[in-house]
């Protein structure tokens, strides 16, 4: 078997894992009752991240266990310990305040005061593990593909789509290390599955070779920045959609579907804050991707900006996300309107990614698709 075939096999295995993860997230979603969501899933803006709780606590205990230290070290560790413990305490306090009872609970993930996990929680935990597995398989597929082709594995639309699916899952799992975002898993695994499905069914490319325009070290820089941006834009858009649902539920007492969903996700305010953080993280990266593309274009085509359709839509995407960031600071535009602008920005990104290659053409329409 060639590395390409291994890669294909790994892609299929990854898709199988994504499907199982998606089903588990769906089961979790269906089985979750409003009360089960508990404290930690819903985090108001500004509350200490639970991840600091886990890692910090272990760091704290290990430093406590270690014996003699240099004074400087000891001071530093004392700081870390203090910080970790206190953050933990605060997280607990907030969690308890919301549950309306005392005792138990290290954060929300493992409530020690209940023998059995609520069914929704167990399915969500399984789903998270499956998502990690799916991402691992997908990264292995990309690595195999890269070894086979002898270059960065995002040289055509097929590979770009694979890498994009990995990026959106990676951003989601990265965020999940810092806060409990399992409620976002359903949308993220769905988006990843769709991206992989489109890649395998419509965009499959069996050539390791690149078109001449892509033979440059800028491929590794510009395209990877665009891919990670795309992954984060996707996660940001998923959080934004859920924010709009939660917001609708809070405004309209009789919106039954919105209420059913809102009961299973955090409150509108924390969703808004998460969506904002993700989009604010990705905006500089997208700026960099556009500028890196311009530098590359100067080297390849003799001009750094030529209003090629891909360039134009990258610019439009950038403008709309800039508008999103500004809208959040403008009276009358905060909240829902800003969220809609964020979704328009994501739509522009999708047009840039798929639409321009498939329907418009131009210098970026490589290798058939």
């Amino acid at each position: 078997m060639t590395m390409a075939q291994w890669s294909n096999l790994l892609v299929y295995a990854s898709m199988a894992m994504y499907s199982l993860a998606f089903i588990s997230f769906a089961v979790s979603f269906a089985a979750t009752r409003a009360g089960d969501l508990g404290a930690g899933a819903a985090e108001p803006a500004g509350q200490p991240e639970p991840a600091t709780v886990g890692t910090g606590a272990s760091a704290g205990s290990s430093s406590a266990a270690s014996g003699l230290d240099s004074p400087a070290d000891a001071a530093a560790r004392a700081r870390a310990t203090a910080r970790a413990r206190s953050t933990e305490v605060e997280a607990e306090m907030a969690a308890e305040a919301r549950r309306g009872r005392r005792g138990g609970g290290r954060g929300s993930a493992q409530p020690q005061d209940s023998e059995e996990l609520p069914p929704g929680r167990r399915a969500a935990n399984i789903a998270m593990s499956l998502t990690w597995l799916a991402l691992g398989l997908l990264i292995a597929a990309l690595v195999a593909r890269g070894i086979w082709a002898g270059r960065a594995p995002w040289g055509n639309m097929y590979e770009y789509s694979l890498a994009s699916a990995a990026a959106m899952t990676g951003v989601f799992l990265g965020v999940s290390l810092r806060r409990d975002v399992r409620w976002l898993g359903l949308l993220v695994t769905m988006a990843s599955l769709i991206t992989l499905g489109v890649a395998v069914l419509l965009l499959y490319n069996d050539s390791p070779q690149l078109v001449p325009a892509l033979k440059s070290y800028w491929l590794a820089i510009h395209v990877s920045a665009a891919i990670i941006s795309g992954g984060a834009f996707t996660v940001g858009a998923a959080a934004t959609v859920l924010y709009l649902v939660a917001d609708r539920a809070e405004r309209k007492p009789d919106a039954r579907i919105s209420h059913a969903i809102a009961a299973r996700i955090p409150d509108a305010r924390s969703l808004d804050a998460l969506a904002y953080k993700v989009n604010a993280f990705v905006f500089p990266l997208w700026t960099f991707a556009v500028i890196a593309g311009a530098i590359w274009a100067e080297d390849a085509w003799g001009r750094y900006w030529g209003w090629d359709p891909k360039e134009t839509w990258a610019f439009i995407t950038w403008l709309v996300y800039a508008a999103y960031l500004h809208a959040r600071a403008t009276a009358g535009w905060k909240g829902r309107r800003a969220a809609v602008i964020g979704l328009v920005g994501f739509a522009c990104f999708l047009i840039n990614f798929f639409g321009v290659n498939l329907f418009v053409g131009g210098l970026h329409s490589y290798a058939g698709v």
């Binding site: 069996d206 403008l319 009358g332």
Partner: protein
């Protein structure tokens, strides 16, 4: 919130989000004039305020995005003139209107320019006053600590006996590069620390950098120039205006000052994918050039390919396209060779089905050839003659020879790639392989397909603004990262003497704090939306030996409060 922070630090002010906190917007919009009588100066001022308001900036950002869309859908002049003409031919009713409105040259149209110029004026009008405001705020002392800090993030309160807690706090905060202001007068016994001024610095840097990028673009388009030229294998180019196929100088560029280099293309290679789903996709292009940087300079060699331009002093030579140049030899009725050269054929599809024209005005009579070149020839009933692969596996020229008047004598400019057959008669149609010769009917002469060469097209450009644009782009990235990732936040520390040493309300009548019990209060406030300062407050509490592990002051109150949690996010 009676004991909360002062007005300036209310949560409302903290919600001023990331990128451009308020761009002066909210305040200014509200200050629209209500009075009926406005003098011209007031109107001017009102208009300026409207223009520099955040709302206007938002609208302009959107308008710019929308205005760019037609430029990505309709073909544009300068990049795809041929497609523009085809589009106009296909849509005779809509095209003239669209053309007059500039839809085929969107990015140079008055309306597109108007939007971005307004946007930049709005941006400058907003950024300039903010530079001054930021400068003053960096120099102004942080507002003093409120009397009670217990509602702030990470609030802790404890009692120490003796020692100078404020001095310790100041040292710890300074070591972490906080800007510390010791309270004086009525605020004696407190300190205020602030950090994260780089947020606004970055924000301003980002917006100034955007202006500089625009300046770089403008410099490039005013003083730069750009030309394209097609060169056949074995032929040369020297950098003078007359040698270009097209040349677009900047408005202030001097065409006389072109750098005096020249080159000859000795060879051109192109390879294509032969198997699989990507069959026919290009894999490599390379043009071997021999060049002299200036007359008298030594001859140097360079293989120019797509990502590897020839860099010369004052210009870069980029490979942007290629095609086939069959060598044709045309003999007229007198037996005179009236044309004997390679001819540039322009590709019409991905397999390089190409069209080209030969005009022989010296023939008796004048002769013209309309040709179709196929690198891998195929013929079927539906598509007629066409090419099935871009490499010259089975090259053929399908030639149609015409005799009569070429129409060149009128002096009107003629497209070298089209033959005006009006006033000419077709002598015949024939397919020729390399080396084959076709004798025209009735002794009108002959046409020979001698051999096959290639051509390459080059863009040669000079852009004096690109270095500025690059540096500004770098500054923009640094600026936007600072403005989004740095958090502006404050920490306050109070040390109030207590009478009984067990806590309780501070006793303002107590005099000297040294050697007496002191109630220490610490709390923080994030001035950046969606971020928390608790961790840093607790670092300080730990450094001062305070009760990190105890719940925050407000949580202790809350535990006894059946009404549930207070509006926590207001505190962060």
């Amino acid at each position: 919130m009676s004991t909360g922070p002062t007005v300036e630090q209310t949560p409302g002010a903290d919600q001023q989000a990331a990128l451009t906190a308020d761009w002066g917007g909210e305040r200014r919009v509200r200050s629209t004039p209500s009075g009926p009588k406005l003098g011209p100066m007031q109107w001017l001022r009102w208009g300026w305020r409207q223009l520099t308001s955040m709302r206007t900036a938002l609208v302009l950002l959107f308008l710019l995005a929308i205005a760019a869309i037609p430029g990505s859908i309709l073909p544009q002049r300068g990049t795809s003139d041929l497609e523009v003409n085809n589009w106009i031919d296909r849509n005779p009713s809509a095209a003239p209107v669209l053309d007059r409105l500039g839809f085929f040259d969107v990015f140079a149209s008055p309306w597109f320019s108007a939007i971005y110029i307004l946007l930049f004026v709005s941006l400058i009008g907003c950024v300039l006053p903010r530079i001054g405001a930021h400068w003053r705020s960096m120099r102004a002392p942080t507002p003093p600590a409120p009397r009670r800090l217990d509602r702030l993030a990470g609030a802790r309160s404890w009692v120490v006996d003796g020692g100078d807690v404020l001095a310790d706090a100041q040292a710890a905060l300074r070591a972490d590069r906080w800007r510390v202001t010791r309270g004086t007068g009525a605020n004696e016994g407190s300190l205020a620390a602030e950090k994260g001024f780089a947020r606004e610095t970055g924000n301003l840097l980002f917006h100034i950098a955007l202006v500089l990028i625009l300046v770089g673009v403008a410099l490039g388009s005013l003083f730069g120039w750009k030309g394209t030229v097609i060169v056949r294998e074995g032929n040369g180019f020297s950098n003078t205006l007359t040698q270009y196929d097209s040349f677009s100088p900047g408005r202030l560029a001097s065409a006389q000052a072109l750098p005096p280099f020249s080159f000859t293309m000795t060879d051109f290679e192109a390879t294509f994918e032969r198997d699989g789903s990507q069959r026919g996709a290009p894999r490599s292009f390379s043009a071997d050039l021999e060049y002299v940087a200036e007359p008298g300079a030594p001859v140097q060699e360079k293989a120019v390919s797509v990502n590897s331009p020839l860099r010369l002093d004052g210009a870069k030579v980029f490979l942007v396209g290629h095609g086939y140049a069959p060598h044709l030899r045309l003999t007229d009725s007198q037996g005179t060779v009236v044309f004997d050269d390679t001819v540039v054929f322009l590709p019409q599809d991905g397999n390089f089905t190409s069209t080209g024209v030969v005009k022989a005005p010296d023939g008796t009579p004048q002769l013209g050839v309309q040709g179709l070149f196929l690198p891998t020839a195929a013929l079927d009933e539906i598509r007629g003659p066409h090419s099935t692969f871009p490499a010259p596996d089975d090259p053929a020229v399908f030639a149609s020879v015409w005799s009569g008047d070429l129409g060149l004598d009128s002096g009107a400019p003629r497209n070298v790639f089209t033959l005006d057959t009006e006033g000419m008669t077709q002598l015949g149609l024939e397919a020729l392989r390399p080396g084959e010769s076709w004798t025209l009917p009735d002794g009108q002469g002959s046409l020979e397909f001698v051999g096959l060469d290639r051509w390459a097209s080059f863009t040669i450009s000079h852009d004096p603004g690109k270095l500025l644009a690059l540096l500004a782009a770098g500054a923009a990235i640094v600026g936007v990262m600072l403005s989004l990732f740095v958090r502006r936040r404050r920490i306050w520390v109070r040390a109030d003497p207590v009478a009984d040493g067990t806590g309780g309300q501070p006793d303002p009548s107590a005099g000297d704090t040294l050697g007496r019990a002191v109630r220490v209060q610490v709390g923080g406030l994030s001035r950046t939306e969606a971020w928390d300062v608790t961790g840093e407050v607790l670092d300080l509490v730990a450094a001062l030996g305070g009760p990190v592990d105890e719940p925050a002051t407000h949580d202790r109150e809350r535990a006894d409060d059946p009404a549930g949690p207070v509006d926590e996010e207001n505190l962060t």
